[in-house]
Symmetry: C2
Subunit: 722 residues, 2 copies
């Protein structure tokens, strides 16, 4: 009889497995039944029911997630109880929502956890062994619930839980570069999730899953619209649509933000100017902002790209960025909204070095911004390159809160076909020392506000999410969404911890899978740098679409849109001299940093050609001459992708066929494109170096001319009409 | 113990149900376990194993489908056998692939079934009761398999099967208006399925499901690209991508076609002209076509939109459509490819009546086309309006095969938010009598080639498919894909039969659901005509995006792009006089048809304003004056949508929550927009009629001016830059 039962269960399991394609839709929130029988036994013993006291939409989200998650993980329904009468209850709530928790007198423990932190605790209540998930707020409880589920998903011991966690950065935000026609600028995962046409009447269930995924990693804000903004988004009809989304996201602790087009007072307000010092303009924005809050009472604020790449801004009227930002800040201030003003600016004049421009424009404005303005600074001074040294603005504006802008969408990192795990890039930047207040003044401390004691702090990631079924185009790109959220919550986590969590949740807890996959992820960004832009090279990608290599781009309408502007290759050598004898961009860093970067000896070789123009015969740390070293980097990068393919292929038995085959296909594309980058760059730079490719390396089997003829007019992610 | 088993099975079923969102992805090929226990018992008794003899990719598709389908429907694995040793085998194959079938001597039965027909037969083989699925070709077997599965899905008796089916039309084709940037012209279900960027290296599993769905209804061709064509699709890099799709689709009997841009010889061939009589041009096309067949050996041919709406064509060189089509036909002929040349033409001169233009241009060319050219004619002479009389070209070109072009995507029928079941529209046209060879010369007989004994026949549907999870945007829009395929196979099926099949397969066999839903579907198109364009009105929709009502459009660059050109409302009356006293478009029909349409007495009232300009006081068949009748139609249409909502709401218990709520949201949008159409049109026409809305009808609660101010710059489906 037992066999019969087993057979039936098996039959249904097989049916279930067949019918549920492993398409990646569930992200890291899979909640499949735990296969480790020992852990499962422990969990079954310690989890017998739930008590969630209190009522609110956010607590409902927490309750639903806990029920869904535990039911999936343990493979059985988990009942809700009203009173604690046996062991094995999970009690979740705040002291004010839950009499049970209130009675535990957790005030001391909770007081340092702020608005969003949580604690998870095994304790004895009424002589019953109980797991407590508590916080000062309902959203804190929700975060605690997701953390608890993660503990189960990663098969951790829960017999004696005692942990606390609170976010180090207040506003953890996704930036969607999504247009109202659903195209996504630099989007490689299909098209926008926001179906503006059917909003607000049709609410795609996917909006809820988007919110769940964000809340699970602590992301608490989303900018719905492209920084290259459209004023229509703040008209009444569109605000109804925004409200529909905000109403869903609010239940997961997520605030909505919008991009403000600076010229909106003209375009939709009927005014003749958008001058920020014009009283009518100021009044128009106040009225507009009041209207937004009327519809979305917890609206987060505006993200603004002004006077950059053709976008309008205060400089059109002879005003400063501070004038523009402060006008919007004044309109938002009564509602506690903020302005995130981007430092990614360059005007119509080609500068001697674009790397210097943001600093030159913003540093003098330090101290002139309203309290509710925060300056959003990209991690590096150029534009989300595979590797950049940290942006010199970090540490340079102590009187102004600065927020970080990372890019999750892989505009310069192989679109959604290359496996590149980005937390290593994020950490490299966050851990960089600005020396602004002496050693240890890391970028992370600037961003989390602790270095200069700023009352607001924020971090943004340009989303890599589209309507592809697996959200991000590549299953592994999900780890960048996950990792951004986890680091935004706690930048002290290591890339390895995050990779381990994500791999266990997304694939399996089997160490024979986790260990090699984690290694592949942790190496992937360096591998990509090697086959794209080793040794400090940058901005040598395809024109306009940024797809593939094009170091030969020159003679365009702006010198700083070309490749030759950045690599400066000539018969002597290669690299951008940013020392005192060159553009002197180095002078924008603190003296201790200058000292390091300005010396070819001290400068980390990974930044060498970013700061220095050096001879092809320059002797690198390996002992190789620069030209040979460059070739080795390119070849090693391409070869390493083959290694990633081997790693993945060896794991076929440990992963479902759907995702195995999907990743395998994508790694094959990455391998092909890594060779494309290698061949293109080596052959191109060889036209300057006039030196042979080292004898141990196989020569490219095609000519530079052949590669240069390739065109990709429909590469994805380009704004229509751009 | 039995209870325990039941509990476990139940538990797994619940888990399964929870985790599989009813998102519509599975279309009508759901294969959920049959709930009718009596039928299930019969099927279990009669289906015990499969024998599929022969090996080919198409037979593999048939085998997989049969296994997946039966396993799902019966809830158990179904074994493959090599020899027939017991009752209850399904034997599938052709006489040449299968010795078992060969021994049955089915030649007589098969001989009339052609290349694609099939027979399904209960018979006794070696004294064992057996079900035979046979055909002359492997794809015929595949069609038979899908038909057999449909029999099970719709819970039909299979104890004594004896049926034969063969398609009446040879080429049953979807036209995708998909651009290379993945936007879809007039697409309302997301963006293109074809991920050109990742092709050919990444093959989305969805491509297979697309092929399965098509094969299940007998669609055997797909034009991958927009009729507003891009020459790049026939360059080597894109042909590799096309090949990747063709290789998948071939396994399901589906051929790939492409759109040919007439100016391609200039744009990608480097020639100075695209003149079809130029030898270099002819040679260039021959070479290009050879290259296509080199890559896709069963390539179907070209679909061409030439000299229409700005597209290049032979008339640019003073040549005729026949010159252009024949040049391409000559290049395709050695490979058995065909040219589908669209009759939807209008040049830069505004005609006295656009309805006459296709006939005027093509009728004189009858007999001048190559044998492998077929003219693709829209169902009506204007452009896929909610209702049009049949196109006058049908029956007017006896020496030329004409194919039908229907539009599944609801460009003029509420996009993907309105529930409009289109087979009633298709049937209305197909059943229309052209009288070309006397009574009974229906459009269907023109299209299937029987009226004039043409060796090739074809039918096209402009696809309503995008990357929305449910493929078509609206769950019910799936029925139009389904219905098109079924009618393309057999235009003698009734709309009701098709609606019944589809509803049973897609939702449930429960008659309490099927009966009201079928009624709602069958009425839906007439309801839509009523609230959009009753009594023969047409082309009064929104400018450019075609969203919503805009009967007021006038004074545009072309008169025949306006609304007033078509409705001709004035203080006397309304309607386009196409009789001898007007544009005389009526003269393009056969005399018997002319006689009907030219008389206000005989003309069906549904076409009244299409052919006649009649007074507001004209007495309609109901006894009402025209103005009142028009109002009643608009109001009845809008009210009927409320009726559809009531029907749907009453069925909540009979449908899963996901699809219930999805359809409910969309019906609410339809209801809102039906009132929008009603109010806009009644208020607008009232400015001419100067008559009151009948007293029994509630007056619109908004003004015409308010409605006219609405703008929708990002309504979906517009070509970027158009």
């Amino acid at each position: 009889m037992k066999k019969k039962i087993l057979f039936l269960v098996l039959a249904f399991t097989i049916l279930f497995i067949d019918l549920t394609a492993e398409d990646g839709y569930r992200l890291w929130l899979r909640y499949d039944r735990i296969t480790n029988t020992q852990q499962l036994a422990q969990y079954n013993q310690l989890i017998k029911g739930l008590i969630i006291e209190g009522e609110s939409p956010v607590l409902t989200s927490a309750r639903n997630e806990l029920q869904t998650g535990i039911k999936g993980l343990l493979g059985r329904e988990i009942a809700l109880f009203k009173t604690l009468t046996s062991d094995g209850m999970i009690v979740a709530g705040t002291p004010s929502s839950s009499p049970l928790i209130n009675a535990l007198k957790l005030t001391d423990k909770l007081k340092n956890l702020g608005d969003e932190g949580f604690l998870i605790l095994t304790t004895t209540v009424n002589k019953k062994k109980t797991i407590i998930i508590s916080a000062n707020s309902h959203v804190g409880v929700l975060y605690g619930v997701f953390h608890f589920l993660r503990t189960l998903q990663t098969n951790q011991d829960i017999s004696n839980l005692s942990l606390e966690s609170a976010p180090r950065i207040q506003r953890r935000i996704l930036n969607h570069w999504d247009n109202l026609d659903r195209t996504v600028e630099r989007g490689y995962a299909g098209f926008s999730l926001w179906d503006w046409h059917k909003l607000p009447d049709y609410l795609d269930p996917r909006y809820v899953d988007y919110a769940r995924a964000n809340a699970s990693v602590g992301i608490n804000g989303t900018v719905l619209t492209n920084v290259n903004a459209n004023a229509l988004i703040i008209t009444p009809d569109y605000l109804k649509k925004v409200k529909a989304l905000a109403d869903i996201f609010r239940n997961y602790g997520i605030r909505v933000y919008l991009t403000a087009r600076f010229s909106a007072p003209i375009e939709i307000g009927g005014l003749k100017t958008a001058d920020p010092l014009d009283k009518d303009v100021q009044q128009w924005w106040k009225n507009t902002v009041d209207e937004i809050y009327n519809v979305v009472p917890d609206f987060g604020g505006f993200l603004v790209k002004a006077n950059s790449e053709g976008q309008p801004g205060p400089q059109n009227y002879g005003r400063t960025h501070a004038d523009g930002a402060n006008m919007l800040a004044d309109a938002l201030q009564p509602h506690n909204g903020i302005v995130m003003w981007r430092a990614f600016v360059y005007d119509n004049n080609v500068p001697d070095d674009r790397a210097k421009q943001a600093y030159n424009e913003f540093k003098p404005l330090d101290g002139t911004f309203r309290k509710n303005v925060i300056i959003q600074v990209k991690n590096g001074a150029i534009d989300f390159q595979p590797r950049e040294p940290f942006h010199p603005l970090f540490g340079a504006m102590p009187k102004t809160p600065l927020m970080m802008e990372f890019q999750l969408t892989q505009e310069y990192l192989g679109f959604s076909t290359h496996l590149v795990y980005l937390p290593t890039l994020f950490k490299e930047c966050l851990d960089s020392d600005t020396y602004a207040k002496g050693e240890g003044s890391t970028v992370a401390k600037v961003v989390d506000g602790t270095l200069d004691n700023h009352p607001i702090s924020a971090i943004a990631g340009v989303a890599n999410i589209g309507n592809d079924r697996n959200w991000c185009g590549h299953h592994f790109a999900q780890s960048n969404w996950y990792g951004f959220g986890r680091l935004a919550w706690d930048h002290q986590l290591t890339s390895e911890q995050i990779a381990e969590e994500w791999t266990r949740m997304t694939f399996t807890n089997d160490a024979d899978f986790v260990t090699p996959v984690k290694e592949m992820m942790l190496n992937s960004r360096e591998i990509t740098v090697n086959y794209m832009t080793p040794l400090g090279l940058h901005h040598i990608m395809g024109w306009s679409h940024h797809y593939g290599p094009s170091p030969w781009i020159k003679d365009k309408q702006r010198a700083d849109w070309t490749s030759v502007y950045y690599h400066r290759a000539d018969t002597f050598g290669v690299g951008f001299n940013r020392t005192a004898s060159g553009s002197n961009a180095i002078s924008q860093y603190a003296p201790q940093v200058q000292k390091i970067f300005s010396s070819t000896e001290l400068c980390p070789e990974k930044y060498l050609l970013w700061f220095h123009h050096v001879s092809w015969d320059y002797k690198t740390k390996s002992g190789n001459k620069l030209w040979d070293e460059l070739c080795y980097h390119y070849y090693n990068g391409a070869t390493a992708v083959k290694g990633m393919q081997n790693t993945w292929n060896s794991l076929e038995k440990k992963v479902d066929a759907d995702r195995f085959s999907h990743v395998k296909s994508h790694l094959a594309i990455q391998e092909k494109e890594a060779r494309w980058w290698r061949d293109a760059c080596v052959l191109y730079f060889q036209t300057f170096s006039k030196r042979p490719i080292p004898a141990t390396l196989t020569k490219p089997d095609r000519s530079l001319e052949t590669i240069q003829k390739l065109i990709y007019p429909y590469a994805p992610g380009i704004r229509p009409g751009w």
